[in-house]
């Protein structure tokens, strides 16, 4: 029986990347970076990981180096956060457009101004349309597991798209959590060496990333759209293989609390664990309440989500990002758009909470529930806990 080891989650992720046996790590090592790439540089320097470590001069270059190395057929990894992710923006589209299975950890943090290094989902919500598979981890174990699984998803020849694993900055990345590490042999059996579908090879010349004239560009975009839509099935398959191999089952959409509850919280990321405690307490005192956790954000698993909320009368959708000027946070927008076509629609309250590292506690979730029962939550959206003179 393996024993759980208490470790900072960033270091657990670095261990996962090492065990995935990557060939290249390209990263910008300064703020807003986490300990993930620092630890990987130590592994490479100590000869524990046989990889090239490329310490570049910016995140824009980090992602550019990743594009080049993945195109050359190397298993490629990087990590970033907040402004760093924003600086990569341009190249993120190139990675998916060129169908390169890069894996990246995003330690979700708030975007400036004002300067913030704390957690929210503003960084990744600005990157919703980059064409990457986007997964959210809830705790340290998930961060470790999903990082390894991400390589298998990305490199599946039915997918061949970059995958980003989101972990809440500080709340997860800098927290010491118990993590069960998997034996290297078992990981090697689960994740065979990367077999690129196309590489830069002088014997068989190809041009990658050429001009797409108007006669070609739309077909090219359609190809990427089909690939990401099709990846949903592969993500589900890889998650279930993970369950069979290592005993921890992951679903695209997770549920807990009272089955077929009247009121459901919808969460994404580490906040889900706090909500879970609130849901448990409320359930124990007889309330009909449950929770839906979105693990796969892109592609959005519509069917699984609809199945998870079937019969609910009310959803309290928590957003950890603001989408200025459109009334709802990004997750609520998504869900409202999806429900428009459905004959049965639950009432939706959108609560925007925990921006820039503001704590959201069990008490807060209970209060949200109470207010929703008394019809005191804004029917549209509420920015939770914001101090006001009004």
């Amino acid at each position: 029986m393996t024993k759980a080891i208490g470790l900072e989650v960033s270091l657990a992720i670095a261990e996962a990347v090492k065990q995935a046996n990557v060939d290249i790590v390209a990263a910008y090592p300064i703020t807003p970076q986490t300990h993930i790439v620092e630890e990987l540089s130590v592994y490479v320097a100590n000869g524990e990981l046989d990889a090239e470590y490329v310490p570049v001069e910016s995140e824009h270059t980090a992602m550019s180096a990743c594009v080049g190395s993945s195109a050359a057929g190397a298993r490629t990894y990087t990590a970033t956060a907040a402004q760093g992710l924003a600086l990569m923006h341009e190249i993120l589209y190139i990675a998916s457009g060129m169908r390169l299975p890069i894996v990246m950890t995003v330690a979700n943090r708030a975007l400036s101004a004002p300067i913030s290094i704390w957690n929210d989902h503003g960084d990744i919500m600005s990157e919703r349309d980059i064409g990457w598979v986007q997964i959210f981890a809830e705790n340290g174990q998930e961060a470790y597991d999903l990082t390894i699984a991400a390589f298998k998803i990305a490199e599946d020849h039915r997918v061949l798209l970059p995958v980003c694993v989101n972990v809440d900055g500080f709340i997860l990345t800098h927290m010491i959590e118990p993590v069960l590490f998997i034996d290297q042999k078992k990981i090697d059996a689960f994740l065979p060496p990367f077999k690129p579908a196309m590489t830069l090879n002088p014997d068989k010349p190809v041009t990658m990333g050429p001009v797409g004239v108007p006669e070609v560009y739309m077909e090219s975009r359609k190809q990427c759209e089909e690939a990401i839509m099709g990846s949903r099935q592969v993500v589900a398959e890889v998650f279930s293989q993970w369950g069979q191999s290592f005993g921890r089952d992951y679903k695209l959409i997770e549920t807990n609390g009272q089955p077929r509850a009247k009121v459901l919280f919808v969460t994404m990321g580490s906040q889900g664990e706090t909500t879970m405690t609130a849901v448990q307490d409320l359930s124990e005192s007889g309330e009909s309440v449950g929770q839906v956790r979105i693990r796969l954000w892109r592609p959005f698993p519509r069917e699984e989500f609809l199945e998870a909320i079937a019969g609910a009368e009310e959803l309290i959708v928590i957003d950890r990002a603001l989408s200025p000027g459109v009334y709802n946070g990004p997750v609520a927008q998504e869900i409202k758009a999806l429900l428009y076509e459905q004959p049965q629609k639950p009432k939706i309250h959108n609560v925007i909470a925990g921006l820039g590292g503001r704590d959201v506690t069990v008490k807060d979730f209970k209060k949200m529930y109470e207010m929703s029962r008394k019809n005191e939550l804004d029917p549209n959206y509420t920015i939770w806990g914001v101090r006001s003179d009004a």
């Binding site: 060129m98 068989k204 010349p205 041009t207 990333g209 050429p210 077909e219 090219s220 190809q223 089909e226």
Partner: protein, 94 residues
């Protein structure tokens, strides 16, 4: 891109890569133009300057020594007409 650059999305190479070098030659850029060059053979002195200046490299010498544009590629920019020392080229509606 597959041998034919213009194809269904299913036939595009992964990531729209080009696997047959030089296949841009199959792309008709000639249909971008509004005006096309026409040479007045009375005025032309066969100096070939137009072919040097053409950014599409689509002007080449024919057997009679004149320099006609290949209209499959000519984008109608008018540079040849502008550079011709004898004003032998006029741009006319395509």
């Amino acid at each position: 891109m597959s041998d034919l650059a213009i194809c269904a999305w299913q036939k595009l190479e992964l990531g729209t890569a080009i696997t047959s070098p030089g296949n841009a030659a199959e792309l008709r850029t000639g249909d971008w133009k509004t005006l096309r060059p026409e040479t007045d053979r009375e005025k032309c002195i066969k100096c070939g300057l137009c072919s040097v200046y053409c950014p599409e490299f689509c002007i080449s010498e024919n057997e009679e020594g004149y320099y006609p544009a290949d209209l499959f590629y000519c984008k109608g920019c008018g540079i040849c007409a502008n550079e011709c020392p004898k004003q032998a080229i006029s741009m006319i509606m395509d």
